[in-house]
């Protein structure tokens, strides 16, 4: 199999435990080169999964293949991976330049080549002016840029970033997004882990949703929204005319409950099929010109998505 046909990342029933605590549980993945968002709330198992992909951890069960090979201690694989972990670096008395040079030498480059690569990467991440200052004097955003610089300096084929937007100001976020888009345009693989869906969405349209150590779903953002729409959820309508909708909704077989507030301006609906709910409610509002000021889920989009998928995963929802 040629390198282009070969899946970049391949996990087969991979499980990693910490004693009795589950890090990742029976994950199966197989994807070709491209950009992917690994989305999950804190504690979902993203970092453990990244540890397995980079060979920093061994699975207790199952297999991990990167470029078709086991990454643990495999120099040819590790040379092709760049990683930017989520954890903060605590390096006293060390400049960004010296640290990135050291890491390039650890990757096997000579001192002069390591210096050249480090300076180029630090320049690319906007750190060339401050690279000779100690890392412990940097802001959170600057440290994030240094971490990214060491990940891309050796021009890896697979770039793994864990919460790379942490601590970045709006300009920094924009620059980081542009840099990552540029990276994926070069035809390389990017795995971007985050607990904020819009951050990932700005870079890629392919998602992996992880929660409780399990892969809950994968697909594009639209596919995931579609999935949410097919699942039960609670919607709140606010407005002067919401009471007029209550009667109509009560007659629908896909509505579980309708609750009107005493002041008759807030309507809470629990529906088994959210897409039906949205479709009908928006049509009725439009047809009758009803005064409804807002329509929202009770949770944020990502929280809602995880809540629904987790419930389904546990067998509480259809």
């Amino acid at each position: 199999m040629s390198d282009t046909q070969q899946p970049t990342i391949e996990l087969l029933h991979t499980t990693r435990l910490y004693g009795t605590v589950i890090g990742v549980n029976d994950i199966c993945l197989n994807f070709p080169p491209g950009a992917y968002g690994l989305v999950g709330p804190n504690g979902a198992g993203k970092t453990t999964l990244i540890g397995l992909l980079t060979g920093a951890m061994r699975p207790n069960r199952g297999t991990v293949r990167i470029f078709g090979k086991n990454p643990v201690g495999n120099r040819s694989v590790l040379r092709r991976i760049g990683i930017c972990p989520a954890t903060e670096i605590l390096l006293p008395r060390t400049t960004a330049h010296a640290w990135v040079v050291e890491l390039m030498m650890l990757s096997g480059f000579s001192f002069s080549k390591a210096k050249q690569l480090a300076e180029r990467a630090l320049d690319r991440t906007g750190m060339s002016m401050a690279m000779h200052r100690p890392i412990d004097s940097y802001s959170l955003g600057m440290r994030q840029r240094v971490k990214l610089a060491q990940a891309i300096a050796h021009d890896p084929d697979l770039l793994i970033l864990d919460e790379p937007f942490n601590g970045l100001d709006p300009v920094g976020r924009y620059e980081m997004t542009q840099l990552l888009k540029e990276w994926t345009r070069e035809g390389k693989t990017l795995l971007l882990a985050s607990h904020v869906l819009p951050e990932v969405e700005a870079v890629t349209d392919a998602f992996l949703l992880i929660f409780g150590g399990r892969l809950l779903a994968s697909g594009t953002a639209d596919e995931l929204r579609e999935l949410v729409a097919e699942l039960p959820q609670q919607i709140t309508l606010v407005g002067e005319d919401v009471a007029k909708l209550a009667g109509r909704l009560a007659d629908q077989d896909w509505v579980d409950s309708v609750k009107l507030s005493p002041d008759r301006t807030t309507l809470k609906i629990e529906a088994r099929r959210a897409n039906e709910l949205y479709r009908h409610v928006t049509r009725w509002i439009g047809e009758e010109n009803l005064r409804v000021s807002s329509m929202s889920g009770d949770e944020g989009e990502l929280a809602l998505l995880f809540n629904i998928l987790t419930r389904r995963h546990r067998g509480f929802a259809r």
Binding site: A56, T87, L90, T94, A98, V101, M105
Partner: protein
């Protein structure tokens, strides 16, 4: 094997060691044996033989100063990276863990050997012993051997014990290297201290003197070079085990996401 990896670690660690705090510590350790032996010479009566001062210098420099330097550099080699949250950056580089062990072992030896090289001539001069050039040569050689062997031992402890490696190392040094060295049984032959003492005894030619001949019972008839060979093999074996331990991985880093 990536030869640039250990050089990179060595380069960075030496840069980091160029701080006021580290230099002050180095200076204190270097001056400590000189000051102590100077005070001993001034307060001791003229009847105290030179051998007593040579043995004192040996213990202060080869066994205490060098080991203190090694303890600070070699023992926390993994735990420092884990606490600094930089271990993940190392292990995701090809051969990164092995390069780090070799690089930090080299730094610990350089730092401690530099201590000995500065301390030995000044301390020998302060002690006022006869044949200072010969004593300097012997003590410098013993200090370098001490750095190689204890460096490998403390590196191994640092790779095996992730938390409280320093405490375990000190307990080991006191119980095994401190006590067992002087136990006149086969077990003392497994200690670095015994080999170094035997070498001191041989190279200072104390075995040929009537007043110290009894020491032959403790140190046996082995040649000096056999002791050097044992210390070299000991260092290589311990360092290899340390490298294998790091290669096996599985260090607990932090609560996982």
């Amino acid at each position: 094997m990536n030869l640039w990896g250990p050089v990179g670690v060595l380069w960075l660690e030496l840069r980091r060691s160029l701080s006021v705090g580290r230099f002050t510590l180095w200076l204190i350790l270097a001056v400590f044996p000189i000051a102590l032996v100077y005070l001993a010479r001034r307060t001791a009566s003229d009847e105290v033989p030179d051998e007593a001062f040579v043995v004192m210098l040996f213990f202060l420099i080869a066994r205490v100063t060098c080991v203190m330097g090694l303890l600070l550099w070699a023992t926390p080699l993994i735990s420092n990276e884990i606490e600094g949250r930089t271990w993940i950056y190392i292990v995701t580089r090809p051969g990164g863990g092995l390069s780090t062990v070799l690089g930090k072992y080299s730094v610990s030896i350089l730092w401690s050997a530099a201590l000995a090289i500065v301390s030995v001539p000044l301390a020998v001069w302060a002690s006022g012993v006869e044949s200072p050039a010969h004593v300097c040569k012997v003590l410098t050689a013993l200090s370098l051997l001490s750095c190689l062997a204890y460096g490998a031992l403390l590196t191994l402890i640092g790779t095996i014990i992730q938390k409280r490696a320093m405490v375990v190392a000190i307990v080991y040094l006191v119980l095994v290297e401190g006590v067992l060295t002087f136990v006149p049984a086969t077990i003392n032959k497994f200690t670095v201290g015994f080999r170094l003492l035997a070498l001191l005894f041989k190279w200072m030619e104390y075995e040929n003197r009537p007043e110290t001949q009894e020491l032959k019972i403790l140190f046996g008839e082995s040649s000096a070079w056999s002791h050097v060979a044992v210390l070299t093999i000991y260092s290589i074996v311990l360092l290899t085990v340390a490298l294998l331990r790091v290669r096996a991985g599985g260090y607990l880093t932090e609560p996982d996401d």
